[in-house]
């Protein structure tokens, strides 16, 4: 029987040890698994010399990806987003998401990536509803950004945005500035100004 050899230096002085690694997937949590690690006593190289870990890592990833899909779909349900309307907007066959959730079918990598994006940016569904029209998509995108930004701004605070700035895309911009101005009685007043400029084409 051929002795197993270190692929780097050819030595037969190799050991097989267990090593714990953490596999994480977005929205799917994490899992600690034990894999084989071969170590060469002569050259110090280490790794999976004989392809023993591939299947275990693959299965763990599939398990976490299934979990992430279930978590995402439960999030949609909890936030009153019907799976039927999501399927309609994205033009994917009805009951696809239910089948993913119930494990009747496994989602593809593309399907998983899509669900992650929808979870992070639900406004993408509105873009789909508007048939991916570029102008509409830009408006939806900017509106979503402003809705996120506005609650963070306290317009009543005196020291709001001390200097000024801009949040912009190629067709729209939100400008904000702070300045002081003397009134007719020579009293200095502070102003916070927010302007939204957007193309209507």
């Amino acid at each position: 029987m051929n002795k197993q050899r270190c692929p780097a230096c050819g030595s037969i002085d190799i050991t097989d040890e267990k090593k714990s690694i953490l596999i994480k997937k977005p929205f799917g949590g994490q899992d600690n698994i034990e894999i084989h690690e071969n170590i060469c006593s002569i050259c110090g190289s280490r790794g999976d010399f004989f392809n023993q870990n591939e299947l275990l890592i693959d299965e763990t990833i599939k398990k976490l990806q299934q979990k992430s899909i279930e978590n995402i779909l439960n999030y949609f349900i909890d936030n009153k987003m019907s799976m039927s309307s999501i399927e309609r907007a994205l033009e994917i066959p009805q009951r696809t998401l239910t089948k993913w959730k119930n494990r009747t079918n496994a989602p593809s990598s593309a399907g998983i990536a899509l669900m992650r994006f929808i979870k992070l940016f639900p406004w993408l569904l509105e873009v789909a509803e508007n048939k991916y029209d570029y102008s509409e998509a830009q408006k939806i995108h900017i509106n979503a950004a402003i809705q996120k930004l506005l609650p963070e701004m306290d317009f009543c605070k005196e020291n709001f945005v001390e200097a000024g700035g801009i949040v912009a895309t190629s067709r729209s911009a939100l400008l904000y500035r702070y300045y002081k101005k003397k009134n007719i009685n020579n009293q200095e007043n502070a102003f916070n100004e927010v302007t939204l400029v957007t193309s209507t084409e």
């Binding site: 692929p7 230096c9 050819g10 690694i21 596999i23 190289s45 280490r46 790794g47 890592i57």
Partner: protein
Amino acid sequence: MSYYRYTDFKKACKNDRDNVIPINNVLENARNHFNLNTKSQLIDFIQNDGLENLTFVNTKDWENNPNKDKPIKVDAYEFTSMYKLGYIAFMHNDETNKWLIKSFHLSSNSNMVIYLAMEKAGLINKLEEEHE
């Protein structure tokens, strides 16, 4: 000049995958920094020209070679992939007939990513003209 022909390494990734072995922290880095979770995914990525803008860095002797009479050369390259700048080093042992991927990680020259992106967009020349 590189010691190995990169095309030979790439060909091995396509036709002789059992003889391409990632060692040390290669798979961990591939998983953590490049979303390449398994040896198969890493090798698929390489053979599918995933290493873009490949730039030869240097050739060195493998420092851990126990047989100093028969030095083994290691070729190192930088590459880009989307917004990332990576580094790969590999070697071939004629005795074991194995390609070893010795290093695979983010390059420390990360500023180059922005530079390369701007160069691709034609902005570097534009900036240079403005400053002349």
